[in-house]
Amino acid sequence: MKRINLAATAVESREQRLGTIIGWDGNADSLAEESGYARKCTGRKGKACELCEVRGPFTQGSVCSEQMVECQAGNVRDAVLIQHSPIGCAVSQTIYNSIYRNGLAMRNLPVENLKIVSTNLLEQDMVFGGIEKLKQTLDDVIERYNPKAIFIGTSCSTGIIGDDIDSVAAEYTEQHRLPVVPLHCEGFRSKHWSTGFDSTQHGILRDIVRKNPKKQEDLVNVINLWGSDVFTPMLKELNLRVNYVIDMATVEDLAQMSEAAATVGFCNTLSSYLAQGLEQNFGVPELKAPQPYGIAGTDAWLRGLAKLTHREEPAERYIKKEHARIKPLIAALKLKLKGKKGYVATGSAYSHGLIAVMRELGIEVNGSLVFHHDPIYDSEDPAQDSLAFLVDNYGDVENFSVSNRQQHQFYALLKRVNPDFILIRHNGLAPLASRLGIPAAPLGDEHIAVGYDGIVNLGNAILEILQRRKFHEDLSKHVKLPYTKWWLEQTDPYIVARNPQLIYQD
């Protein structure tokens, strides 16, 4: 039986499939050891090893799966996403619209508002159900936008009241001859929001990807977000074409994924499910290689892709050419970045890549916070063990913490390592760093560090933000933090999680 099972409409959560954790404290080497790959872990296959998760009574607001559906399914250019929810779930159309618009601009595509519509459920719908409103919104969407596909995302409320969106989706698919795709993404169902990526990808695999593909031997699926177009020039060297998915793709781009020669990504966290889904159900091989960061990672990534697509020769030429070109650039940056200490607070696999690039640039990295940790990815292939690759090639990271955007923990984590700057991606942590006098580089363009040029790009981005320390240091002298004196004195960020009884002591 296939591990990625497309029979059910709801995706299995990350924690069920991969053993995902959202709280952990230690060093990178131990986390890699304890995770599910074959590195030392008794060769256990399938479900990951049970990691010891540190979770306590105190939590600050996190992020939910539905948000990831919103920012993926809601950013497909000729599709519409329906949020079957009260209006509050729809408020974040604001952020994803802004990101979508800037992403389109960066990719030279026509800038426009995203197309997401809420069913706007009210109190009486919680009692009597919201199915009629869902049908009304489906009718509205079909009449107004004539979309190529419609996604329906669920919400906590509709999950609890038990609205049967699957039947409605099937009915409309039949009636209107277009894919109407149910996406089950209630926030409470998974402890980590990355399940929302999987939910979107599951729906696309089920209902949109073409079932009778006509192979395009030079097409490569690149699973990414809104980043600038760095893959086209790279893949061009191998005579390969890029099919960017899911954000800003068209429904046709999604449908033709089954015709590609291979699937790659920039971050295993994001691409794990879709890439394996394509491999197991449509025979499109997933590239099982380190992520394309730093020289070692990029070399291995290119060689892996070249092997999959039978383009070893141009790949070797390209690698050689790039090594020569990039070497002096890196050397120059190393001089400027000498003695600097950085910290990475991003999504899981992305952090593994960024740390590699920073170490390539001679930057000291002795700490990182990741929002979650997947002990294994869907391929279960050791070649994709990005954390082990980091540790084996670039050394251990002394303070490696899993903390699901818990700002109170971030305070003590930063005190531990006292970095000159941090790299971040999701919102919520940099504001605290700023108040402590530490500048952050927000990597809005997630491709900034990819490939050979990524090493140079990231180095330059870091040089730019280091100067901003002046602003943050000045600010830090004039702010009061919202934490008690007791909490600010703690050196162990996980002390309350480890000793919950502390919250009852005066």
């Binding site: 009574p57 719908d125 919520g428 605290l432």
Partner: protein
């Protein structure tokens, strides 16, 4: 009712408000107050990144952003109830967070499964923890509704009864909704400045000019309440009238520009029984300065070669819509071609708002449309009898402004392409900033 109002369905795209739990920002806007959200893992973040970040990049301040403790409710609490989870979270919050007051806000999940929030919170209230709760599940309504719910919760559960004396010349001000109204920080600052100018002691209650919880505890002592908004805050003022025997003055529009602002101050002064001579002295001083700047501006306004936009549309919640339209029509002499009010105005207030627009000036009467769905709003602008050369709206209206070859000035939620710190568009000083903004946008796009 307009034709488009007739075609409304339940669908809403491109929303221009959050849900009731968006009122975490009402709590966080009071210095020293920390919200605790008892909801799913994404609810607080959705409201924050939208209302406070991609809306003028206002920032979370002391207790907004990623700061508020949240239950991040999981399947377990859905099935077995979340009372214990909330109890533990509050206990931990008192240990870790430094707050003068905690406000617990609920999301859809506990409101559906029926968690007993009052009894959990009252356990802490009895122990002397400063804490209140508000039921703000998203299906109850939007963040304007949630705003009133939170304010009432603080009044009833924290401030409590009061039967002492009132302090003369002291006023509580109820106006813009923090964060929803993108310019609230600067606007409240200007409103406080001009009210102080005529001799009032002002409890502004939210933002950097508020003293926080101590100011809130003084609410019952104020001589009167001042509601400056078409309807938001009226419920609060009525509640305070009943609870503390406090009268209130209701002025539907925030004054913008000297004409409106001076008239506003005279009204307030009369209601409060202030010395009219010193009120007039303040007005005269303000007007002198205001009109010097307006005189400077008049060179541009009278003879800028390439013309400036005349026809405008406003797409906004009623508070900004009414205030800005009055200023543009009465003081700048611009022509309104479309007025769309977007905040899901309660039925009982709609007629009063229509009347305000029908009498916007002695020679101008306007009809407004009440629309919430982005698709219908765009249709209304597209089919307007005359094209607006400038749209006062939100980020959602950038596409239609481009299509109609007009300019866009983002004045409301969401304003994702404005960076707003202390800027204000109201009163004497704010009017000058608004003029600068309008005509900078218009001429910088011209060549």
């Amino acid at each position: 009712m307009s034709l488009l109002e007739d075609t409304k369905t339940n669908s809403i795209s491109r929303p221009r408000y959050g849900c009731a739990i968006g009122a975490t920002h009402t709590a966080a806007a009071i210095p020293g107050v920390i919200p605790i959200t008892h909801c799913g893992p994404g609810c607080a973040d959705k409201q924050y990144v939208s209302l406070a970040f991609y809306n003028g990049f206002q920032g979370g301040g002391y207790s907004g952003g990623a700061v508020p403790p949240s239950a991040n409710i999981s399947e377990n609490e859905v099935v077995f109830g979340g009372d214990n989870r909330l109890r533990e979270l509050i206990q931990a919050s008192t240990k870790i967070m430094a707050a003068d007051l905690f406000v617990v806000l609920t999301g859809c999940i506990p409101d559906i499964v029926g968690d007993d929030i009052p009894s959990v919170v009252s356990e802490f209230q009895q122990k002397g923890v400063p804490i209140v709760y508000a039921e703000t599940g998203g299906f109850h309504g939007n963040n304007l509704v949630g705003h009133e719910t939170v304010v009432r919760a603080i009044i009833d559960q924290f401030i409590g009864d009061y039967s002492g004396n009132k302090i003369k010349n002291t006023v509580n001000v109820w106006t813009e909704v923090p964060y929803q109204n993108t310019y609230w920080r600067g606007d409240l600052g200007e409103i406080k400045r001009i009210l102080k100018g005529i001799g009032l002691k002002v409890n502004i209650l939210f933002g950097h000019d508020s003293k926080g919880v101590t100011e809130w505890l003084d609410i019952p002592k104020a001589a009167f309440n001042l509601v400056i908004s078409p309807w938001v805050g009226l419920g609060i003022a009525e509640h305070l009238q009943n609870k503390y025997n406090q009268p209130y003055l209701h002025i539907p529009a925030i004054p913008i520009g000297a004409l409106e602002t001076s008239e506003f101050l005279r009204k307030v002064s009369k209601f409060a029984g202030l010395n009219s001579k010193s009120t007039e002295e303040f007005i005269a001083k303000e007007e002198e300065s205001y009109y010097k700047y307006v005189e400077d501006f008049s060179d541009f306004y009278s003879e800028y070669w390439w013309g400036v936009p005349a026809r405008f549309a406003v797409v906004s919640d009623s508070i900004y819509s009414l205030s800005i339209t009055k200023f543009l029509v009465k003081q700048l002499g611009l022509i309104s071609v479309k007025q769309i009010i977007t905040e899901n105005t309660p039925e009982e207030y709609k007629e009063q708002i229509r009347e305000e627009f029908r009498h916007i000036d002695h020679d101008v009467n306007l009809e407004v449309e009440f629309l919430e769905d982005g698709y219908l709003i765009e249709e209304a602008l597209r089919t307007a009898a005359e094209k607006p050369a400038i749209i006062f709206g939100t980020t959602w209206d950038r596409d239609i402004a481009k299509e109609l070859k007009g300019n866009i000035v983002e004045i409301g939620f969401p304003s994702s392409y404005e960076v707003v710190l202390s800027r204000s568009y109201v009163g004497y000083k704010g009017a000058l900033s608004l003029i600068e903004k309008i005509f900078t946008v218009a001429i910088s796009a011209s060549a």
